[in-house]
């Protein structure tokens, strides 16, 4: 197990990158703490797989260095990095039994047969495949195969990190939940550093201690699921995380007064003069629908009932607004105003979060 340090890391698939746009992964400094569970979250093509491949050693970064503890492994081969990887679809050795699959990495490293036997037994218990140990790997279900390929990684005690490249893609929905829970339990038990790439926010938020949100080659925010929810560092994070995503309103902010096209409101923080495009970000959970005259007028388009709450789709100033209304609230035709929970309103300048001074 090791701390992984990315220092000034950047990667471009073009040999002579000229502008920022040519980089699949833009300059990045980050330390992955030893033993933590991270999720790399972002839409397709945001650079998360590039980053994962750099860590696993499939790709050599065009700039910067990568360190495992204090060792520079930037140019080290995958085999020498001592990492484990679980791929998008199950990679198992079909002609071997489950036991042989689990033994394989240890055998290749010339481990003592007694140790192998004991280690395989303990891993088989952890990933709950004891009952199928002597079955051929070929006939197993996708989730069992994924567990085996995970087990093949974990069977080595000295493994530096386990990388997951969207490992739940081919798993049936009802097994996804179970596998994710098992993964989390395994992480608690064995304390491996785990990096989990996904484009599914639920997966990321339930699995990880810390979520790294990426967009267009940039790391936009690294934080706990709570931080991402309450204080998205970039409007993209606001959109991408949450269902529906954060509402963004054009506004002018002077001091602690925000002006939404004539509707003024008092912020909980006071800001110095802001230059650039100013916006307010409010999550649908923190907007309340109320009677006419109590707040800002909106046009309701439709109401969707999604079991535990209702989503109100509305329009304000030609822009979509989403509001989450608790299940027990009855929406009447006269409820066409909205108010914000002002303590949960974030201010963005040029899409990035700005923190003002707290008003005491």
């Amino acid at each position: 197990m090791a701390k992984i340090t990315l220092s000034n890391l950047a990667h471009s698939y073009i040999s002579n990158p000229k502008s920022e746009k040519d980089y699949a992964l833009r300059r990045l400094n980050h330390e992955w703490e030893d033993g933590a569970a991270y999720a790399l979250l972002g839409p397709s093509g945001c650079g998360k797989s590039t980053l994962l491949n750099i860590i696993s050693g499939i790709l050599t970064p065009s700039e910067g260095r990568i360190l495992f503890d204090e060792d520079d492994v930037t140019f080290a081969d995958t085999a020498d990095r001592n990492i484990a990887q679980v791929f998008q679809f199950p990679v198992v050795y079909d002609t071997m039994t489950v036991r042989q699959n689990l033994e394989f990495p240890l055998k290749n490293r010339g481990a003592d047969p007694k140790y192998i036997q004991q280690r395989v037994a303990s891993i088989a218990r952890s990933i709950q495949v004891e009952d199928i140990l002597d079955k051929k790997a070929q006939g197993l279900t996708a989730d069992a195969k994924q567990k085996i390929s995970l087990g093949r990684g974990m069977v080595r005690e000295d493994v530096n990190a386990i990388l997951f490249d969207e490992p739940l893609t081919v798993i049936d929905p009802h097994m996804k939940w179970e596998l994710r829970t098992q993964l989390k339990a395994l992480h608690k038990e064995l304390k491996h550093t785990m990096i989990f790439v996904t484009h599914d926010q639920t997966e990321a938020l339930t699995f990880a201690d810390k979520v790294v949100v990426m967009n267009e080659g940039n790391v936009v925010q690294i934080g706990t699921p709570e931080e991402l929810f309450e204080k998205p560092a970039h409007t993209f994070v606001g959109y991408f995380i949450g269902s529906p995503g954060m509402n963004v309103f054009d506004a002018e902010v002077t001091g602690n007064i925000a002006n939404l096209q004539g509707n003024k409101m008092e912020l909980k923080q006071t800001h110095k003069k802001l230059s650039g495009k100013t916006e307010l970000g409010v999550r649908p959970e923190f907007i309340t629908l109320c009677e006419e005259g109590m707040g800002i007028k909106i046009d309701i388009v439709r109401v969707e009932d999604v079991a535990h709450h209702k989503i109100v789709r509305a329009i304000y100033n030609n822009k979509d607004v989403n509001i989450i209304v608790p299940e027990d609230v009855i929406i009447t035709p006269t409820m066409n105003n909205m108010t914000f929970d002002m303590s949960r309103v974030n201010v963005y300048v040029n899409s990035w979060l700005v923190e003002g001074e707290e008003i005491s």
Partner: protein
């Protein structure tokens, strides 16, 4: 599901039935017809029952030809299958050179069979052939028209040259279908090159290898044109394989009865061996699974 009974539907299969009848059943039946009759000329035939079959089954000539045939098929398969796998493994996987290799490898398959025979017939001649003349100049005793070993080597090398490409192409296609993640995982597991072959590449190639082996078995068991052009079955009867012998008997000697019985037995032998081959291979495949 409830099926409607409509006997008129039989008419829909009639065209295929007719086609198969004219292309396969009727010609085969004429052979069957010949195999149970004899003639002393003047187009007068009389029935002889299974006499021809008995004669052919006990004939030394057929046994020898069958033995030569099996030896030939055995040798070329033992060479072509591993060689094909080896070449496929070492071909570039992508880019310009992959295309170049594919075209070069496919070339022998595009040459008509009698041309292949002619090429090697001339290539091996000691007076004007590049190979034969060079060998002769080097002092190697090589003459496929007189020496049995030379004739066999020539035919085997020719078949390997002509048909290994088929095995290569099929294996190459099988290899290309293996996702990169498998190799990546093997690297992470520090698998040796042999392990990668044994546990990843070979299992993924089993399906195409089965087809390749079956095709090579059937084709080589029925080989006619190439050895006919190169050696004509000689020297003596050294390279007279089943089909060459059959043609000699049917068209050369015009022994229609025995030849018909011979071809039916030949057909059954191929059918039986292909079936046995296929069953064994699929069973191996299942055991692997």
């Amino acid at each position: 599901m409830k099926k409607t009974v409509n006997q008129k539907a039989w008419f829909l299969v009639l065209p295929v039935l007719l086609l198969v009848g004219f292309s396969a059943v009727i010609p085969l039946m004429t052979v069957v017809n010949y195999s149970i009759q004899d003639t002393f000329g003047n187009n007068v035939f009389f029935e002889v029952g299974l006499e021809w079959f008995e004669e052919v089954l006990h004939s030394e000539r057929l046994h020898d030809a069958l033995g030569r045939q099996m030896l030939f098929t055995g040798i070329i398969m033992v060479i072509e299958i591993p060689l094909g796998i080896y070449i496929a493994l070492h071909m570039p996987k992508s880019g310009f050179w992959a295309s170049v290799c594919l075209v070069l490898v496919s070339l022998p398959l595009l040459v008509p069979w009698n041309v292949v025979g002619t090429i090697w017939q001339i290539f091996g001649r000691t007076d004007i052939g590049l190979l034969g003349h060079t060998l002769a100049a080097m002092g190697v005793e090589y003459n496929y028209t007189q020496d049995v070993l030379s004739a066999w080597i020539t035919l085997i090398v020719m078949d390997v040259w002509h048909w290994t490409s088929l095995v290569v192409l099929l294996c190459y296609a099988g290899l290309q279908s293996i996702p990169g993640a498998y190799y990546q995982a093997a690297k992470i597991d520090q698998a040796s090159k042999w392990s990668v072959f044994r546990y990843i590449q070979l299992p993924k190639m089993m399906g195409v290898l089965l087809i390749a082996s079956l095709l090579r078995f059937m084709d080589s068991f029925m080989i006619y044109t190439e050895p006919m052009v190169v050696t004509g079955g000689g020297p003596g009867n050294a390279t007279t394989f089943l089909s060459i012998d059959l043609v000699k008997m049917a068209i050369g000697q015009f022994d229609l009865g025995p030849a018909a019985a011979f071809s039916l037995i030949y057909f059954l032998v191929i059918l039986l061996m292909s079936w046995a081959f296929f069953t064994i291979m699929t069973n191996i495949d299942k055991q692997e699974a």
